[in-house]
Symmetry: C2
Subunit: 398 residues, 2 copies
């Protein structure tokens, strides 16, 4: 039989092919991988999850195993809504939350309900590669805005928003941006609010790492000032478990919410209700802030140690973007050296990094790369960074 | 802010609007609902699931809560592959299985990787309304083939396949078809095989109810004779739990498999691994056939009782399609009376049914309706069918 596929799936997928090859390379047990973004198992509350499951199945087993609603488990949505108070937003209700199969599904849902082929969307440059990949499925025209050390470049953003009033949305990651690890300062935050207030563009705020801040002060959610003009994505993947695939969209525009629910109902009916209830039970019975404080302490130590190793082993001229939280560091090679070339060279020596290219919509052969510290032992960090340093030196001497 | 949505989501969605209104109507505690398709809680092995969860978390907790692979948990895929032996297919391997977020996601994935706008797809007439809805997202041209008491109309099917060689796939439900409850006879099965063998059209076999046969003999899967020309969808929703949203695609064409995995990786990365591992543990530690025999005994009793009530309370001239399994009965009113009108009339009296209209791509104001028996008490069945009979009589006398 000759297979007849859709044009949609036959398009080139730079990000997808790239990550597939990185994952394949990093899957070898002999490789020290800084390429992925796996949380440390310290963030998985295993005995507490066992207790929560027992309680859910004994007290409410039929509901946990039956079909459920597309929007998600009310107790879980209530917890999520309340959590926005820690981000300065006090008027979110459980009714504004849609539970998704990981926040990745939220990206796909937003793409599906908003993007016609050729529609403009605005992203940070660089940005989360899987967001680019999810949006590409719907063939948008992607407008990029430079990321500066203090957050998105506001002059550029103002210009893009002004010149492209029909842009569907801007996808922004204000805390520990992926891949740069940078956060928006209060000043940048305030200017972004002003830019969007006078526009008709939806702000899509993604905040997967916000809870993992080990220094500095976080800005509030853009939802505080922008109300229903801001859709907020979130996830339990970095603070409790990615394996359960539970994320959410906080959407206060009623029409957009209805359309997202319509789309999700055809995409997979609803998110695993068993896991939603177990997670809600865990959250009700445990002090999640105490749990998160353990993650923060560990990640701070790992980040500090990796920074120390990078400073020690990388050759002079490498630039290290400072971060105050999250799971990644962003390094730039001197003299326009190719991060992709470093990726191949380091891989030969047994270390995987994530070169910057797939995080950019247009730029190729960039000099920056991303390294992850959350799930490596200190021993692996030291050994891996040392090898990385040797690979850099060889490139600089070549 | 003025919302700017995609054309995709603004299209009319007859099936979606219809089911939403039925679900809303049936959600009232005062309504006896035969409209949905909820499994009976007898199919939920609650204590066994608790034991399986405990074992998974204690022995393999980190894996259960960490990110995982897009294709799914190997032990679960192995079980599913082996199960095809009960359907006459001995050459399925774990590598041919993709675990999906319910078989509904499988429908959406197939639509995404195969359908360009205007592409032809073939369906039974009537067919599963959510399959129609899932395919509509991708704007196909839908070709319909009549369902007869012995299965799909083979003369019509042969004609359609011959005249539309470029059709992307045919979506068929050979056992206890939704909504009619009909199954393909061996003769029809054999003719269908011949029709597809000489064509270039993929056969998409959906079999959610196959395990719940309480009379007669099942035909084998079309995958036995058609090999990689047949993609098989399956689900644990009707035999163990729909709440965990675990279904699958069995795809033996390597290129199609790769594209489905690409698409799923952007749609939601992977299916909940915690639930996949719990389910695999349950399957390893329990006799699933013994479990299914309990479901079959209960559903047979409920089906028999509902048939008895329908014969007793519906007026003369109503036609009842016999079934040998599954969860539904299909009833046709005499003299072209409108099932939709009956739906409204019965709802006023406190009983919800599912009128036939949304199961058809083109036909409207049909005389048939679907009733579900799996999750109602005998008391509710008798009371509800009696009211349905009264509503019918009023319509016939009007």
């Amino acid at each position: 039989m000759q297979l007849k596929l859709s044009d949609r799936i036959m398009k080139p997928d730079f990000q997808g092919e790239f990550t597939a090859s990185i994952l394949a390379a990093a899957a070898s047990p002999d490789i020290i991988s800084f390429a992925g973004g796996l949380p440390n198992p310290v963030s998985f509350p295993i005995p507490e999850m066992e207790a929560a499951t027992k309680k859910v199945l004994e007290e409410n087993g039929v509901t946990a195993l039956q079909y459920s609603s597309t929007q998600g488990w009310p107790a879980l949505r209530k917890w999520i809504a309340k959590r926005y108070e820690t981000m300065g937003v006090y008027d979110v209700s459980a009714d504004d939350i849609i539970v998704t199969n990981g926040s990745q599904q939220a990206l796909a849902m937003i793409g599906a309900v908003m993007i016609n082929p050729g529609d403009e969307v605005i992203v940070e440059d660089p940005t989360y590669l899987v967001a680019l990949q999810s949006f590409h499925v719907f063939d948008p025209s992607v407008l990029t805005v430079t990321m500066n050390p203090d957050g998105i470049d506001c002059d550029e953003l103002a210009e893009v928003v002004k010149n492209h009033p029909e842009a569907k949305f801007a996808y922004l990651i204000p805390n520990f941006q992926n891949p740069t690890g940078l956060s928006y300062t209060q000043e940048v935050h305030d200017r972004v609010v002003e830019i969007f207030k006078s526009s008709n563009v939806l702000l899509l705020e993604d905040n997967p790492y916000r809870e993992i801040r080990f220094a500095g002060t976080a800005t509030d959610s853009f939802g505080k000032e922008l109300g229903e003009q801001c859709c907020m994505l979130g996830t339990f993947s970095k603070i409790i478990t990615p394996g359960m695939r539970i994320g959410w969209i906080c959407v206060r525009n009623k029409e957009l919410k209805a359309k997202l629910l319509n789309y999700k109902s055809t995409a997979d009916l609803h998110t695993n209700i068993f896991s939603q209830m177990v997670l809600a039970q865990y959250l009700a019975d445990n002090d999640v802030d105490e749990h998160i404080s353990k993650i923060k302490a560990l990640y701070k130590a790992k980040s500090d140690f990796m920074v120390e190793c990078l400073k020690k082993y990388l050759p002079e001229g490498c630039d290290l973007t400072p971060t105050e939280g999250g799971m990644f560091l962003w390094v730039t090679l001197p003299n326009g050296l190719s991060a992709l070339q470093l990726y191949y060279k380091a891989l030969e020596k047994g270390v995987a990094i994530c070169p910057g290219d797939p995080f950019y919509e247009y730029k190729r052969d960039v000099s920056s790369f991303r390294v992850n510290y959350s799930n490596s032992t200190d021993e692996a960090i030291e050994k891996g960074v040392k090898i990385l340093g040797e690979a850099c030196k060889e490139m600089m001497e070549a």
